[in-house]
Amino acid sequence: MTLNPRGWPVILVLEVAVLAALLAMPAGLDHFWVIFVTRVMILALLAISFDLCWGYAGIMSFGQALFFGGAGYAVAVAARDLEITSVFIALPMAVAVGFVLSLFVGWFLLMTRFPPPIIFVALGTLTGSYIGQRLALSWYYLGGQNGIPSIPSLTVGDYPLYEGPVFYYMVLGLLLGVYLLCRWLVRSQFGLVLAGVRQQESRLTFLGYRVQTYKTMMFALAGSIAGLGGGLLAFHDGFIWPNSIGILVSTQAVIFVLFGGIGTLIGAVIGVGAIEYVGFELADRYPQIWPIILGALLLVVVMFRPTGLIGLLVPERERYGRFGKPPKGEDGDDGAA
């Protein structure tokens, strides 16, 4: 059921279209919508990070918000107490916090002597996020229930970066960079190993791959990206609160990606855009119904359309993609999945 009889590279077309739309948008939109789309792009980083975990490494992470919110809180505290607001310090710090947290969680949950059951990973990440929420809720230093309001804005030298077109293009640049990095990575030989793991993990293990190490690396990368997103959102919104680190945002990440289309990267970005936009339109009129609809939507997608929105447009073969050139000395299979 694909609408692509001629075999265009649909994903590429989508990617270019989304990029073009994002590049052009600030010109045609008023200030409010520029801020809205900036926020969508930041959340897209969160979605990409979940997509890397579940769509590419087979790690069911219900706790992606731990890295997102953890980095957000870290930069918020640093900005509040140490007055660190420079882009060149704050954002690398957010990435580092996400990296360290996810490396630790990944090491802990994945690098076990026997491959951990998937429920343990799902539960472990969920617990991590829940612990983060409890800590943030009850720790006075982190502002408790109200979180940290009025975080100072990011600065480049002496110039403050307020929300608006400049911030927009900075986020777009970062998103593009992250996206291209991930896109290259999942289509590389590294991505090929992970594709093998998704197909049949035990075979890869017998072939001598350290499967758990690969997964942990991917998890740490995903955590870093979530961290970057969390840091950006804290500065962009100017506040952070316990929900950013807890179950709510973790669930959002899952919904974004499953709705948009798992394992395609661009699906994650489109999913965020679609959900956030519809959510914005509906949440005004039906603030209590919207979360229910989101849950029902997730259920429907899981039941009837596991490939998500993107599955309507992209054939199975293209979703898997190709994996670059094999290393020299191996036979000349083109590496297609």
Binding site: M60, F62, F108, L109, T112, F114, P116, P117, I118, I119, F120, A122, L123, G124, L126, T127, Y130, I131, R134, L135, S138, I247, T251, V254, L258, Q288, I289, P291, I292, L294, G295, A296, L298, L299, V302, M303, P306
Partner: protein, 327 residues
């Protein structure tokens, strides 16, 4: 005082046991990890709340709740869950989604507030110079009864045999004229009913809020993993342990919490002794306990430490503390 505290531990443990029992029955007998289980608990609690709002007696609500939730479970199994038997991993996402729907619906209905429900049996019983809450005692008795009945049902009746057969080898069970579809539906409804009962009984102790479920879901899963999946007794014992561990989250005085926290660590360590990883686990736990001790006075941190420690214990003993070492 120690008897008071022990009673508190036991009564809290029985809540956890009830939650775990339903989850464990579904996980062990069907191979489905129901990530929406906590929200079935919430649904049970909400049913009681509705009865209270309507001015009907609370005990009536508590009687109706398990059946109402079981009915919801039955409908969901027939329409949704049955599609997932072939793909247990997708089932986790599906049940998670169901949980979100229930949670958000209840949140919408109760308006994001905390609601207190009075105990249907107020008052205390005095035994010597200790007085025990009458309601808590009832809960403990009900729990013991339910666990006993469930155990007998699964181990000693034909129905139980059929349920176990459907888990062990579905194809063979079908060829022996057991309708596995019906059995699964029943099992799932039964598990949900237990969740509803747990929610109904605990709602006077924990006021009703929409996030009630998530927290109990995590605790129940930790308990199951601690006890070992696939057995009947494992999750219950795990629940006992987890219940004892989770007491600090209970509104007790903080220093009592500390004492029992440490005792429970000792229990965990005992669980690991005699195996290769046991001593390592023990050392890690002692280290963590020592490091945490200055903070533990704060009940919230103690609560968090419990989650951390439980997951550490599971990581070190992936097959559970009480199962004989496999592999």
């Amino acid at each position: 005082m120690p008897i008071d505290a022990a009673f508190d531990i036991i009564s809290f443990t029985s809540f956890i046991v009830l939650v775990v029992l339903g989850l464990g029955v579904i996980a062990s007998m069907m191979g489905i990890f129901n990530l929406g289980h906590g929200d079935f608990v919430l649904l049970g609690a909400y049913t009681v709340f509705v009865f209270d709002e309507l001015g009907l007696p609370i005990w009536l609500g508590m009687t109706v709740a398990p059946f109402a939730v079981a009915l919801v479970g039955l409908v969901l199994e027939r329409t949704v869950i049955r599609r997932f038997y072939a793909a247990p991993i997708i089932a986790m996402l599906g049940t998670y989604a169901i949980g979100v729907v229930i949670r958000e619906t209840v949140r919408g209905l109760i308006g994001g507030l905390y609601h207190a429900i009075p105990e249907p049996l107020p008052g205390m019983i005095d035994i010597g110079d200790i007085s025990i809450s009458r309601w808590r005692l009832t809960v403990i008795l009900i729990t013991v009864l339910v666990v006993l009945v469930s155990y007998l049902l699964l181990r000693r009746t034909t129905l139980g045999l059929k349920i176990r057969a459907s888990l062990e080898n579905p194809a063979l069970a079908r060829s022996a004229a057991i309708s596995t579809g019906q059995i699964y539906a029943l099992t799932f409804a039964f598990g949900c009913g237990l969740a509803g009962l747990a929610g109904a009984l605990m709602v006077p102790a924990f006021s009703l809020s929409a996030d009630l479920g998530v927290r109990f879901l995590i605790q129940a899963f930790l308990a199951i993993m601690l006890g070992g999946v696939g057995t009947f007794e494992g999750p219950i014992r795990g629940a006992g342990l987890a219940g004892a561990l989770m007491v600090p989250a209970f509104p007790l005085s903080a220093d009592l919490g500390v004492r029992f926290l440490i005792q429970a660590f000792l229990a965990i360590m005992l669980g690991g002794v005699g195996t290769f990883e046991g001593p390592i686990g023990g050392a890690a736990l002692i280290g963590a306990t020592t490091a945490a001790f200055p903070w533990v006075m704060n009940p919230i941190l103690a609560d968090i430490m419990v989650f951390v420690l439980a997951i550490v214990a599971i990581r070190l003993r992936p097959t559970g503390l009480f199962t004989k070492r496999r592999l």
